[in-house]
């Protein structure tokens, strides 16, 4: 590592090596990460065996693996297939995510642009945001019936608020001097929005998206808890109520893996769309 120390400047520069070198720099960290996982799993298995812990309290990793193998090797048409239920939850989450983001971002920009309207509506938005969403989930079933709609709406509701807040914050973060300069140069409102406001807001929007992508899945799961015939949430509840704790853990593993993948995806998306924004290069291994 090079280091330049000056009176007012103390900056460390990373070497701009080749992609191979950078990859090799990362390898030890990933290996360490993997070793940690192996140690954790081995310790868990040993604890269950040595202390005779009941499967109702803590199933062993091998039991969880049994559930995962069974779940992912069942035919797609079987109600025991994790792929099938994952597909249902993923679809609900995706549609809810897109809908919630679209409405949240548009609403955020609108409320930020028309500030007076924003100030009038903001207390109600905050009040609704504070409501425990799981309390309204059963009502969604009564109002919207079964099927995917109530889960999509739950997902969209959970996504809406962080996107609204982050969009408003993004809008307000735009340097007013840039707006003034653009106007002086004859920019139209449309150009102001597409060329300055939206790009400037992107880091804030992506901060919201990082939360929203996981909340979308949580919303779908919550919706499935209260009335569903398919989906990972339904399966989780079924396993829990039938005291099949190994199955519960298996679903939690799947959800964790999906959340991790979505997080990585969002980081890549942020790097692509906000390439100018400075980020810690090795954050999350991306």
């Amino acid at each position: 590592m090079s280091s330049i120390k000056g009176e007012h400047l103390d900056v460390e520069l990373e070497p701009q090596g080749s992609a191979v070198r950078r990859a090799l720099d990362l390898v030890p960290e990933r290996v360490t990460s993997f070793i940690l996982l192996v140690i954790f799993l081995a310790g868990w298995q040993a604890a269950v065996v040595v202390f005779g812990i009941s499967a109702l309290v803590l199933p062993s990793p091998m039991e969880v693996l049994d559930w995962l193998i069974r779940g992912f090797t069942e035919p797609l048409s079987s109600s025991a297939s994790f792929w099938y239920h994952l597909g249902v939850t993923a679809w609900e989450s995706l549609v809810g995510f897109i809908g919630g983001c679209a409405v949240g971002i548009l609403s955020g920009f609108a409320l930020a642009h028309w500030a007076k309207t924003g100030r009038i509506l903001y207390p109600y938005i905050q009040a609704f945001n504070a409501l425990p969403k799981i309390a309204i989930a059963p009502l969604m079933i009564v109002w919207l019936g079964y099927g995917l709609s109530p889960k999509i709406v739950m997902s969209a509701i959970l996504v809406f608020f962080p996107m609204l807040i982050s969009s408003m914050a993004g809008y307000h973060s735009v340097d007013p001097d840039r707006i003034d300069l653009a106007r002086v140069c004859g920019a139209s409102n449309r150009q102001l929005f597409w060329k300055i406001i939206l790009p400037s807001s992107m880091p804030f929007i992506f901060a919201g998206l990082h939360m929203a992508v996981v909340l979308a899945m949580l919303g779908a799961i919550v919706g499935e808890f209260v009335g569903a015939t398919s989906g990972l949430g339904m399966l989780l509840l079924q396993y829990n109520n039938n005291l099949q704790v190994g199955g519960v853990f298996a679903i939690l593993v799947v959800l964790g893996a999906v959340a991790f993948c979505l997080s990585i995806l969002m980081q890549y998306a942020e790097r692509y769309f906000c390439f100018w924004s400075r980020r810690e290069k090795n954050f999350g291994g991306v």
Partner: protein, 353 residues
């Protein structure tokens, strides 16, 4: 890979919809009072009649929809989300007090099957030992703890127990094992599940349940007026399956697992899973039918029990108790639901190994 999955899903959807259309089957939705599939009423309300073609014989394509409890099930049905609902009798009375159109017409379970469960060696031997103890409920304040209190008062037992909400799931078993609660107040099939997993409990009966109207199948009267044939069709198919399950619970469990493979435990041999399932089903059926008057087919209900339910829950403050209880139920469908060749069903069940 993605296109294969997509085309499989599309093919499956098309096949299902075209199959139903080809059969000219009418969709009949039943919303049940719990959110997950388990061995109990789901065996004969859905799995057995579907697998053996009883629904098809009645021209029905039945969907079983989950709900978070009987109140939500009733809500969904009266707002048109389903054609029938499984629901507790007191929930029917409660909904009717809010002018909800709901009528019980078939008793799925004569005794709801709740009992006190305690660890062997527990100092709780009878209901008289409950005062001063911590008792675990699914949800304290939802009615079952008040019912247990009423049982104690009826027996002249003063003093209170402390109700603890445990929810539903593994924490119920761990709650009693760890001593966080001194006993549980849960139902037969859940105890059977715990027994299968190695937790054997001693049970103390709560006889007040024999005096109250049992777990019901209900409809909206405005729907029944125009669609009595569908109500009877579903009920008859379900009654056949009920008889089948009573005759051969092992075959019934196998059919349940065939219909709902997601309920089969992983890492367990199917025959062992069936054996466990039979234990659960038999526990459920014992509560459901052991108090039936001799030779009576399942489904019957009595005015006295409905009146007792209204009186009991009025005294507990759950009901206002001012609605006409005779309008909350009907016995008109009982004979029609049981109008089938019972001997043939029994023979069919016995023939299945």
């Amino acid at each position: 890979m993605k296109s294969r999955i997509y085309s499989s899903v599309v093919a499956l959807l098309l096949a299902t919809s075209s199959y139903a259309d080809a059969q000219n089957l009418t969709t009949f939705r039943v919303v049940k009072a719990n959110a997950n599939l388990n061995i109990g009423e789901d065996v004969f309300m859905m799995a057995v009649p579907k697998q053996l073609g009883y629904f098809k014989e009645e021209g029905l394509n039945v969907e079983l929809l989950p709900a978070q409890g009987g109140a939500q099930a009733g809500q969904i049905m009266i707002t048109g989300g389903a054609e029938a609902a499984s629901i507790l009798a007191e929930a029917i009375l409660k909904i009717r007090e809010s002018n909800g159109d709901i009528v019980g017409f078939y008793t799925l379970k004569q005794n709801n099957g709740f009992s006190i469960g305690v660890l062997p060696g527990s100092p709780i031997k009878t209901l008289a030992d409950l005062p001063g103890k911590k008792i675990g409920f699914g949800q304290a304040g939802a009615g079952s703890d008040q019912l247990l209190t009423r049982q104690l008062r009826n027996m002249g037992i003063q003093g209170n127990f402390t109700p603890i909400s445990l929810g539903y799931g593994a924490q119920v078993a761990t709650g009693v094992k760890s001593g966080q609660v001194d006993g549980l107040f849960f139902w037969d099939s859940l105890y059977a599940i715990m027994s299968n997993q190695g937790l054997k409990l001693n049970h103390i009966e709560v006889p007040i349940q024999d005096e109250l109207a049992g777990f019901q199948l209900a409809f909206r009267s405005d729907y029944a007026r125009k669609n009595a044939d569908k109500i009877i069709g579903y009920c008859r198919a379900m009654s056949k399956a009920y008889q089948f399950a009573l005759t051969n619970p092992k075959a019934a469990v196998e059919l349940f697992y065939k219909e709902f493979p997601s309920t089969i435990p992983a890492g367990k041999d199917l025959s062992a899973a069936v054996t466990d399932g039979v234990v659960i089903l038999q526990a459920w059926l014992k509560s459901a039918t052991s108090k039936l008057p001799g030779g009576t087919a399942p489904g019957i209900e009595f005015k006295e029990r409905w009146e007792n339910s209204q009186k009991t829950y009025r005294d507990l403050g759950v009901l206002k108790g001012d609605s006409d209880v005779t309008k909350a139920y009907t016995t008109e469908y009982y004979d029609k639901c049981n109008n089938f060749d019972r001997a043939a069903i029994i023979a069919q069940a016995k023939a299945m190994k």
